[in-house]
Amino acid sequence: MTTSLESIRTLLMRDHDIVPERLTPEATLDDLGIDSLGVMELLWNLEDELGITLPTDKVPELHSLGEVAVHIDALIAEQRADTIATRVS
């Protein structure tokens, strides 16, 4: 399990009252009743939660919670690498 999946699950339980059993990596946002605005809000909260900055240009199409987590994890890794690179230079 990745770090961000746990944060995603926590936020969805808090903000949408979804029971934890439904919040599997395979569960789709559609099935959980999270629309595009719900996704936007989730990503905004994840920025705070995980200390990352999402690119403002576009939100990729994300269907399942697992896909959201992979996307966020990639951003975390990228932004940590950037920070390290900045420190080194």
């Binding site: 949408h16 009252d17 605005l37 809000e41 905004w44 705070d48």
Partner: protein, 410 residues
């Protein structure tokens, strides 16, 4: 032209949400104006307001609570209640024959205020992602339309303090002319943010606090009046052809007989006698009634120096010698000034007053301003006033005057 009935009423108001409770408070002169005790109230010169006891958590899920500004929550809840009161006005309605008409002066100003606080006071760029959706003036109408699948016009009117009267009047026209079969019409306002209160204060329109009796701080037509007190709430009406309402067995609260509009064109804030009188005459013409047919008036009556004297002069201009015989009620002394929702709440009170054959009191009127020398029903309700037609006046900064002519149903 079809006769138009008011067949449902929904309220969120400082005097309560139940129509009988609200009417009883207005009749008995129980003021909802109070000293504001919230974190920023020490920054206000006169911390006064008329607040609603509305509890969003009792009526809306978490997502709605985060996506709707308080003014939209008020409006949606009031619209739901109006429909519950209507005995299923939307049953057998073609969706495109139903519309939504909402007035609001300041829209989602609380959400905008919160956003600005994040940006400027907290020097953070983390403004919430729904701020635009919550702040936009048309959000309330949009949410009501979605909740009830009304596919006809979804309209928002923002003409400051006459917004709700304009919304009701414009809805009435469409129902009367046969363009719509049901309209949800009214106004909503939730203006009690620090930014908004300070802005009204800076304009020197707000009342000073009565230290002994804060609830008596707003005194329309009184020599001692010092200004208005802001209030929050919503009032939504169900409008439909009278024939349809009767056929459905709905309880009819009254009729809208006509609606008059005028524009002052003189000054952005100072009201004009000619402008207000023109709106009253336009309402009479629209209702095809002579001045003699008017039995009572629900005044705009803000308790500001400029409004009350001007409104008195406008009533005299239209009704001449008879002006002094018409009972005039200014209920803002009790529920405060709901800005873009004021005209709808006052329309409801005017209808209830006719239903109960009561002239509602203008409270805290110990000594009238010599320039205000009509019958304002001072301090005590008058019973046995069998009014058949009442005017509800709404005037506004910007100059859009709107007057509704309301008919009783016995």
């Amino acid at each position: 032209m079809r006769q138009v009935a008011i067949s449902g009423i929904g309220l969120v108001s400082p005097l309560g949400d139940d129509i009988d409770e609200v009417f009883a408070a207005a009749r008995d002169g129980r003021s909802a104006i109070h000293r504001l005790d919230i974190p920023f109230s020490e920054r206000l010169v006169a911390p006064l307001a008329a607040t609603s006891r509305f509890d969003a958590t009792a009526h809306f899920d978490k997502m709605q609570q985060r996506m709707l500004d308080r003014f939209s929550l008020f409006a949606v809840h009031a619209a739901n209640n109006a429909l519950s009161d209507s005995n299923a006005a939307l049953a057998n309605l073609a969706p495109e024959r139903g519309g939504v008409f909402i007035g609001t002066g300041m829209g989602g100003t609380l959400s905008m205020d919160e956003g600005y606080r994040t940006l400027y006071a907290e020097a953070s760029d983390r403004i919430k992602p729904f701020t635009v959706l919550m702040g936009m003036h048309n959000a309330a109408a949009a949410w009501i339309g979605m909740a009830h699948a009304l596919r006809g016009p979804s309209m928002t009117y923002s003409t400051a303090c006459s917004s709700a009267a304009v919304a009701i009047g414009e809805a009435w026209r469409r129902v009367a002319h046969g363009e719509l079969d049901v309209a949800l019409a009214g106004g909503s306002e939730a203006p009690l943010s620090l930014g908004s209160l300070k802005a009204w204060e800076a304009l020197r329109t707000l009342a000073t606090i009565d230290e002994e009796e804060p609830s008596a701080s707003c005194r329309p037509f009184s020599k001692e009046r010092s200004g208005m007190v802001l209030g929050e709430g919503a009032a939504i009406l169900v409008l439909e052809p009278l024939e349809r309402a009767i056929a459905r067995g709905a309880r009819v609260h009254g009729e809208i007989l006509g609606y008059g509009l005028s524009n002052d064109v003189t000054h952005i804030t100072r009201p004009s006698v000619a402008g207000q009188a023109a709106a009253i005459r336009a309402a009479l013409e629209s209702a095809e009634l002579p001045p003699e047919a008017i039995d009572a008036i629900n005044a705009h009556g803000t308790g500001t120096e400029a409004n009350d004297a001007t409104e008195t002069a406008a009533v005299k201009d239209v009704f001449g010698e008879r002006a002094g015989d018409i009972p005039i009620s200014a209920t803002k002394a009790l529920h405060g000034h709901l800005l873009g929702a004021a005209g709808a709440l006052e329309c409801v009170l005017a209808l209830q007053a006719m239903r109960h054959a009561v002239a509602l009191p203008t409270m805290h009127l110990r000594e009238p301003d010599p320039a205000c020398d009509l019958d304002y029903v001072p301090n005590e309700a008058r019973v046995g006033v069998a009014a058949r037609v009442t005017l509800s006046n709404s005037f506004a900064f910007g100059g859009t005057n709107a007057v509704l002519a309301l008919g009783a149903v016995y």
